[in-house]
């Protein structure tokens, strides 16, 4: 049973229980809002996406978020992904600081949303909640209520770790109105509120050299979206027979040699199954898992289907969408 939407003291307690204290990583991370916390609107289609390297389900709140989760998981530089991440209202350490990858780095601290809101002359806009009058420690006290960001992505390469913040809406125009007023005629007040919200999040993360990107569902190529969604299914599951794991590397090498020949995908899978003595299902699993994990590079901007030819990579998705994951300026 879902609870009421909007800020409340009980929700504040719940968010702090999930995300307060030392940041958690990998399978231990819990989003501030998970599916089922609130009754989602009838038309929304939230989706749980399993991520084997993280060992947990990633919660995509709406159908426009799921392609971005798939794209992020497809990136081999990604080492963690925090969806529905609480923005700390008080000064806090950099989001990376508790991770072993950041050992020895001097990372800036974040001022917190209260300080940023004050800088923007919008302290009165910051949500506050009051504790109930029968609270054992803080009866009737007022507390700030945290904002929640969409996705904080953590990347790592030879020059060290970095973060990127993604805010996702159905339409790019939605960044100019609040969620509440999305079906109403636009007003100046509502627009100011929405712009304050996004400017605040942007400045909050800029303190830690983390760039914020405003993205909309349709900004990813449609063919790439559907390919990643289908191939993710293979990546997130186990093979039919465990012995497929033994020939995985060999088979991947063989697939790599076959890709430039532009063959029908199913023909390749069938031949691989006969050659390496696995089931066709497992041969398929190894190829599609390899495509998602980027060990086999194919053109994902064309339809990838069993009855069609498989083309070698023409354009790398992370070159086309490279801006979205690039390191922030110090």
């Amino acid at each position: 049973m879902g609870s009421r939407r909007g800020p409340s003291f009980s929700k504040l307690e719940m968010i702090l229980q999930r995300q307060g204290g030392v940041p958690k990583w990998g399978a231990e991370y819990t989003p501030a809002n998970v599916m089922g916390d609130v009754d989602s609107p009838g038309r929304s289609r939230p989706l749980n996406i399993y991520a084997p390297p993280l060992g947990r389900w990633v919660h995509a709140q709406a159908k426009n978020e799921s392609p971005f989760v798939h794209l992020a998981l497809h990136c081999s530089l990604l080492f963690d992904l925090h969806e529905q991440k609480m923005l700390q209202f008080n000064p806090s350490a950099h989001p990376l600081s508790s991770h072993p990858h950041s050992k020895g780095l001097e990372l800036p601290r974040l001022r917190g949303t209260l300080a940023v809101a004050e800088e923007l002359n919008g302290l009165s806009r910051h949500p506050m909640v009051r504790a109930p009058k029968d609270h054992p420690h803080f009866p009737r006290k007022i507390f700030p209520f945290p904002y929640v960001g969409d996705f904080l992505l953590f990347f790592f390469d030879e020059s060290g770790p970095w973060c990127v913040n993604w805010t996702i809406k159905l339409d790019i125009e939605d960044f100019k109105r609040t969620f509440k007023a999305r079906y109403k005629p636009p007003t100046e007040k509502d627009r100011a509120q929405a712009e304050f919200r996004h400017e605040m999040e942007k400045r909050y993360y800029l303190d830690g050299w983390i760039p914020t990107h405003h993205l909309a569902g349709k900004m990813i190529d449609r063919e790439l979206r559907i390919n990643l969604k289908t191939i993710h299914y293979w990546w997130s599951r186990a093979p039919q027979e465990p012995k497929a794991l033994l020939v995985e590397d060999e088979m991947i090498d063989w697939y790599r040699q076959q890709i430039p020949k532009i063959r029908i995908m199913f023909d390749m899978e069938k031949e691989a199954a006969a050659k390496f003595h696995t089931t066709v299902h497992d041969a398929k699993w190894i190829l599609k898992k390899g495509i998602f994990a980027r060990t086999v590079r194919v053109d994902l901007f064309r339809t990838v289907l069993d009855n069609l030819p498989l083309y070698p990579e023409g354009e790398d998705p992370f070159v086309r969408y490279g801006d979205w994951i690039s390191r922030g300026q110090q």
Binding site: R225, Y233, K284, D306
Partner: protein, 203 residues
């Protein structure tokens, strides 16, 4: 006339009746047959029927001047098999994208069925020229591992061949689930939940 053209026999011809659309597959000069396919729904499930006419009779029925043809190209060419007519014009990928989750993506489901018929596809002309096309298909169904139901395998094979070799023709009959008449008074207190994505793909 190409493989997959849907035709109708205006006044009936041989075993063809006037109402059903038939899908043209092949005229074979060697055997002297013209092969047409019909998909029907019977009490025991859906079936595929092969109709064979003499090639000369068929060509004569088609090649006469307009207005006098016994076999005409159906005015409405369906892009999907009859059991999927409720999503005619829909895009399988779009349905997959707006889906809430689901164990298996629709694409993977159709790909699995394609896997079972893939070996039959290069043998299309051999199958159509055979005395009984179903012998070859049934033998293939038995040889598959796991063993396949022969009626279903025949349906997948002919649906794929007749509908432009698109994987959407292999899509299971999900769109028709729950489409019974809900206006009956006995449902007046029933809460029906979210509308199926097949009926409102915009989500």
């Amino acid at each position: 006339m190409n493989i997959g053209t849907q035709v109708m026999a205006k006044d009936g011809l041989g075993e063809l009746n006037t109402e059903h659309p038939y899908t043209f597959l092949k005229t074979d000069p060697a055997s002297g047959w013209a092969t047409l396919v019909e998909f029907t729904t019977q009490t025991k499930g859906r079936r595929v029927h092969i109709h064979r006419l003499s090639r000369d009779v068929f060509l004569k029925a088609v090649d006469t001047p307009a207005g006098e043809q016994q076999i005409i190209v159906a005015p409405e060419q369906l892009s999907l098999p009859p059991w999927l007519s409720s999503i005619e014009g829909a895009d399988l990928d779009e349905l997959d994208l707006v889906r809430k989750g689901g164990k298996i993506p629709f694409r993977a489901r159709t790909e699995q069925r394609y896997g079972y018929i893939a070996e039959l596809l290069p043998r299309l002309h051999e199958i159509l020229s055979a005395k009984n096309p179903f012998t070859i298909i049934n033998a293939h169904a038995r040889a598959m591992s796991p063993r396949q139901n022969r009626e279903r395998l025949a349906e997948w094979f002919f649906a794929y061949v007749c509908y432009k070799r698109k994987l959407i023709a292999l899509f299971p009959e999900f769109p028709n689930i729950g489409t019974y008449d809900k206006s009956d008074p006995k449902y007046s207190n029933t809460h029906f939940g979210v509308v199926s994505i097949h009926l409102s793909p915009s989500g």
